[in-house]
Amino acid sequence: MRALKRLLAFLISLLILSAAVFWIARLAPGDPLASYYGERAEKMSPQQRAQAEADLGLDRPIHVQYIRWLRNALHGDFGISFKYKTDVWQVIRGRAGNTLLLGGLGFVLIFSLALGLGILCAWFEDRPLDRIVCKAGTVLSCVPEFWLSLLLILIFAVYLRVLPSSGAWSIGDGGSAGDRARHLILPMTVVVAGHLWYYAYMIRNRLLEEVRADYVLLARSEGLAKRSILFRHCLRNAIPSYLSIMAIAVPHIMGGTYIVETVFSYPGLGTLSYESARYQDYNLLMVLCLLSGAVVILCNMLAQAVNERIDPRIRARQAVEEVSDRG
């Protein structure tokens, strides 16, 4: 029953999202014909324009267009991309893998490195290492991504010439794993650098909260070594909140690749979204928005589910606690 309600909420959210994107895209300034006809759109006479618009179905009032789109979408036909003139899903499928690679690998790296860094800082709390890392991390997280990207490109691609400055693979290489990895290094560095400290700091503070708990005092009085306490006890208690953060972070990190992709000309969904929004490629824009909207909603639901699994246990526990605390 609850699952059904969730599904319904999900679908309705997507519907509202689609309507909002539809309207806003069409009301925004810009020439969709430029997307389809390229430079020729500039030179078309008014009659030719009218004809072209009719061909593409852009001459009807917006709500009529929307209903038509909706009807087609329910049958699985999301239209063609104006620029690429192929089915939108085909266009997306070609690029999605790249973004998944960048975002997915970035996600894994961010969270494992953040965990390690957070543990390191918590271990050396208030010692010089912790202080330096905290300051450096804060600075790093404030650096704008595009600036960092350009800096890295300048250093590694232009001056040192050891890494490529753009793209996902070398032309003609066909995309061997090593070549892809080389192309991923710089964008991945920027993606990780942008988010790393946020989560590392979070887990550091969470761990330090745990370190102040009473059971740590008891463990110390037993003679347990600091290492055991930190890893066996504090980490175990801090991890649940970390996991729920991870769920929310998925759309945050995946969506955050847009800037990096643009600067590095990395052919992913980020550049595709930017292009379709900038050049009024309506159908493609719509599907991309729906896709990211769906990911956000799903991840939030996941986070909610994770929290509920942890929370009712806690809540029930607390209720029982209050009742039987002193007996």
């Binding site: 020439d31 500039e42 078309m44 490109i153 691609a157 996902a168 892809r180 890893f231 000309s265």
Partner: protein
């Protein structure tokens, strides 16, 4: 325990990445022959029939004729031709060994098929105006084709450089949306190896080219639309050849390992007056004042850093150019005189008023080309100083019906007829402004229909004079094309006049080679 697990996963991840890098190994292309990487804009399709200009077309396709270094007509797919004056017909004899990239022979049927498709208004080709006087196309035999025109057209041979498309692959297909244009098969010195959507188009040498095959094995059109990215990738070595902005190109001048080619083009910029707009029916007489009120040298120096030339007519790079016309040199006094004579008075705010209306107009500029926007802004500012209320607007959609003026940019390096007849002729296909001048029409037609250079020169002189007396545009400047290439590339011709957007550098690509 937890610590070990996370540590282990970290080590594994690191090992994986380094392993990938290691097995990736040496950069590609070393043992695959020579490769030239060229910075290109993005293509959504390669369709020479429908689209007016595309750098890649000349690599993949051939026309019946071709251009040489001086933009004169030389044989292409057609080895020879004759002109029958009486019948006003051209007969072309095609080479017999030409093959399509898929191995099929090239025949006259293909030629007929291509030109008919271009002429078909249902297809909406940009090139249709060039062939508007073709009355009949006859296939005499497999390698002979005859075109009958309703009036002589000296430029016709120029127009026959149009790429020939294969009938056997395109028959029955829609010329706008066919998938052929994403997997084109042509006759040219290079054939399409792969098209990495949005990333690069890789062309590989056509060993069976009917003329001398090319020397460079592979040419990659790497899609780098952004100017800054192009400059950076030239510097980092990822590009071998690129068209850069003047400022970026200057950064490479004198640098070790690079050669800069500052090439003239026939590409000019100017203010087009939209005569469909009722403003100009009453205020046409201020146009000469506008022409005098633009300081072209200043614009050339500030916007394109001196990489260009002040413009006064559409044929300055052409052999038929007539410099003896009113250049409308920058002369604010003259402009004011024209305006006063037209009955306008300078108001207290510094602007001219006539019959209570402030004189001025809006220049529309297409978004996306910063140079055009800058030129328009500079011109508008100069005109405001004279007293005309000129402003710049950057609409999202070009409104040919309503806009008052537009910053135009085009030009052709080929026959003088190419970008004049259809542009300045009354009701011609590329005459977007609605300009109409009987003298101009007469001269253009005369020049078109004669192939006697003397006659043509005189006709074009007459045309240019008439145009200067009744301006259709306020010409501003010609723009140079700055190509930067690695100095290992030999064969680039620095003297050829480029076309619109600097197109045309690959005209002799079969002679290029890369020094190792």
């Amino acid at each position: 325990m937890n610590k070990f697990r996370s540590l282990l996963s970290l080590i594994l991840a690191a090992a994986l990445l380094t392993g990938l890098c290691a097995c990736g190994g040496a950069p590609a292309g070393e043992d695959q022959g020579s490769t030239l990487v060229y910075a290109s804009g993005d293509y959504t399709r390669i369709n020479p029939a429908m689209d007016e200009h595309g750098e890649i077309n000349i690599l993949l396709f051939d026309g019946l004729t071709a251009h040489d270094g001086d933009n004169a007509v030389v044989p292409g797919l057609a080895e020879s031709w004759e002109f029958d004056e009486a019948a006003c017909a051209y007969t072309f004899h095609m080479a017999e060994n030409a093959r399509w990239h898929d191995g099929q022979p090239v025949t006259a049927e293909d030629v007929k098929f291509t030109i008919e498709a271009i002429m078909d208004p249902a297809n909406g080709s940009e090139n249709a105006p060039n062939y508007e006087d073709v009355t009949a196309i006859d296939v005499l035999d497999e390698h002979t084709v005859r075109f009958t025109l309703d009036a002589p057209n000296a430029a016709f041979l120029d127009y026959m450089t149009m790429a020939v498309l294969p009938k056997h692959l395109l028959e029955g297909e829609d010329f706008q949306t066919s998938d052929f244009f994403r997997h084109p098969i042509g006759t040219g010195p290079y054939k399409l190896e792969s098209w990495d959507e949005g990333q690069a188009i890789t062309l590989v040498k056509n060993e069976d080219y009917f003329k001398t095959p090319a020397k460079i094995d592979r040419i990659v059109f790497k899609i780098v639309p952004d100017d800054n990215a192009r400059a950076m990738q030239m510097r980092s070595g990822e590009l071998d050849l690129a068209l850069l902005t003047p400022r970026d190109a200057e950064g490479f001048a004198g640098q070790e390992g690079y050669a800069v080619y500052d090439m003239k083009t026939s590409d000019y910029r100017g203010i087009l007056f939209n005569f469909h707009n009722p403003y100009w029916t009453e205020n046409r007489d201020i146009i000469p004042a506008v022409c005098c009120g633009i300081d072209r040298e200043a614009i050339v120096n500030s916007v394109i850093l001196g990489h260009g030339e002040a413009a006064y007519g559409p044929l300055q790079r052409n052999i038929y150019n007539c410099p003896d016309v009113d250049h409308y040199d920058y002369d604010p006094a003259r402009a004011e005189q024209i305006l006063t004579q037209a009955g306008a008075e300078k108001g207290a705010d510094g602007f001219y008023y006539r019959d209570g209306e402030k004189l001025g107009f809006v220049i529309s500029v297409g978004a996306g080309d910063q140079v055009r926007v800058d030129i328009a802004q500079a011109a508008a500012q100069q005109l405001r100083q004279i007293g005309l209320d000129v402003t710049v607007d950057i609409p999202a959609v070009v409104d040919w019906g309503g806009q008052m003026a537009y910053l135009i940019g085009w030009g052709s390096p080929f026959d003088a007829d190419d970008h004049t007849y259809k542009v300045f002729g009354t009701d011609k296909g590329a005459n977007y402004s609605g300009y109409s001048n009987a003298d101009v029409d007469r001269y253009l037609t005369e020049a078109r229909q004669s192939d006697d250079p003397a006659v043509r020169a005189q006709a074009y002189a007459g045309f240019q004079k008439a145009l200067a007396e009744d301006p259709a545009y306020a010409f501003i400047c010609y723009i140079d094309a700055d190509y930067v290439a690695k100095d290992t590339i030999r064969g680039i011709d620095p003297d050829k006049v480029m076309g619109h957007h600097g197109v045309g550098i690959f005209w002799n690509v079969t002679e290029w080679e890369i020094e190792s």
